[in-house]
Symmetry: C3
Subunit: 169 residues, 3 copies
């Protein structure tokens, strides 16, 4: 099963996804983190998030090879947080949009074969003014398409707004 | 009939609108394009969108005079993509917000008189941080009001999120 | 009772909130304004909004001390527009996120004790690209958490999109 959870920054999407993971997996959840602590601000965000999670969950840090990480996950329930940082990591190493869509398709296919439940969190970043910066435009295009692929494959999908969910499917 | 389709960048709104147009008009659809190929990036976006559309649809390129173009459309079903670029084009030629609202009102009134179906696509651009740039603030204010006018007049309205629709009315 | 109304810039949230206030309070509404006319553009926005409101409503301008202002409101129905400017004002005077969340909690508790109806308007600002500016990131984080606190405490919550409402709860 695939559950897709999206929303803006600080919309409560990680908390919502964690509650779903707890309902479905209890203490047996693999938390698949794509964040890389590249600076002090990011490090602080990662620590703050970690402190909110149940202590017995298994944390796997994998910025790039998500298909392999999902395949190797030691529990049926995997919480992937988040697709948006993954796309950012792929963009920074030079992947094209086509490569990202291929990687996203492979990840979703592997999840279907694996069984269990993947809860995939992402960000909506396309609802502001067009960014001046070409890389930012490339990022929001690529992420938009990856999000569409994940949402299309999902059994359930939610948009979080101010901590409240809108069921998309 | 008026169908209003909004969403962020790469939210699947054009694809959703195209599917509705195909359901309602089959091969007899006028695609009313407001985009102007001002640079290579824009040109590439326009080409990519065009390749996704049925080859027998009629494409009319009209960056500014939408009322006239809707009036003259050779098919009952018209797909207008998009109001957001139209507002940008009007702003760049120096129209005031009041002039844009007048033009939007005229367009909507002409559509009611004409009959047939207009599917109008737009962007939501007001859900990010307030832009530093005064022109960008002016744009999001004007577009927000044009979007409200179109949505108020619509028989159906949808918000697209990650390719999935939320029915607004 | 607490009614929470959110949305992007020019999404129709103030108008929606004003209609709810008129339904509930008629001419007996306290309009609690957090905007400060710091420049000509802001002054013009404030004037435009004021001209749209019923002339007999009582306007109270309070950029910071909302708990006290709600407690002292001369009518049962209070329309607070908006939490997002309040958070901006608190940030500019140097409050930490923890202080803001404390102040928001105090405001919500005071409203529960007071009875009557508070309609609280806010902005969604987290659905664009991550801002370059550290203060802007701090702002959207703080506002996101204040919005979540208000939405969680609300009896009714709405997201406005192009002037149309999505009921969140």
């Amino acid at each position: 099963m695939l559950i897709y959870v999206t929303g803006g920054a600080r919309s409560g999407k990680s908390r919502f996804a964690e509650e779903r993971a707890r309902q479905l997996g209890g203490d047996a959840v693999t938390y698949l983190a794509t964040a890389q602590p590249l600076d002090a601000e990011m490090q602080a965000r990662i620590e703050r998030h970690r402190a909110d999670r149940p202590p017995r969950w298994i944390t796997v840090e994998e910025p790039l090879e998500l298909e392999r990480a999902v395949q190797a996950a030691p529990t049926p329930v995997v919480l992937l947080d988040c697709l948006s940082l993954w796309v950012s990591n792929l963009l920074l190493r030079g992947d094209s949009e086509a490569q990202m869509l291929k990687a996203a398709g492979d990840l979703l296919a592997t999840q279907r074969r694996r069984g269990g439940t993947l809860i995939a969190v992402s960000n909506e970043v396309g609802l502001g003014i067009v960014p001046d910066n070409a890389l930012a435009r490339q990022y929001r295009d690529a992420l938009g398409r990856v999000n569409q692929a994940a949402a299309a494959a999902a059994d359930e999908a939610y948009l979080l707004v101010s901590g409240l969910e809108v069921k998309l499917k």
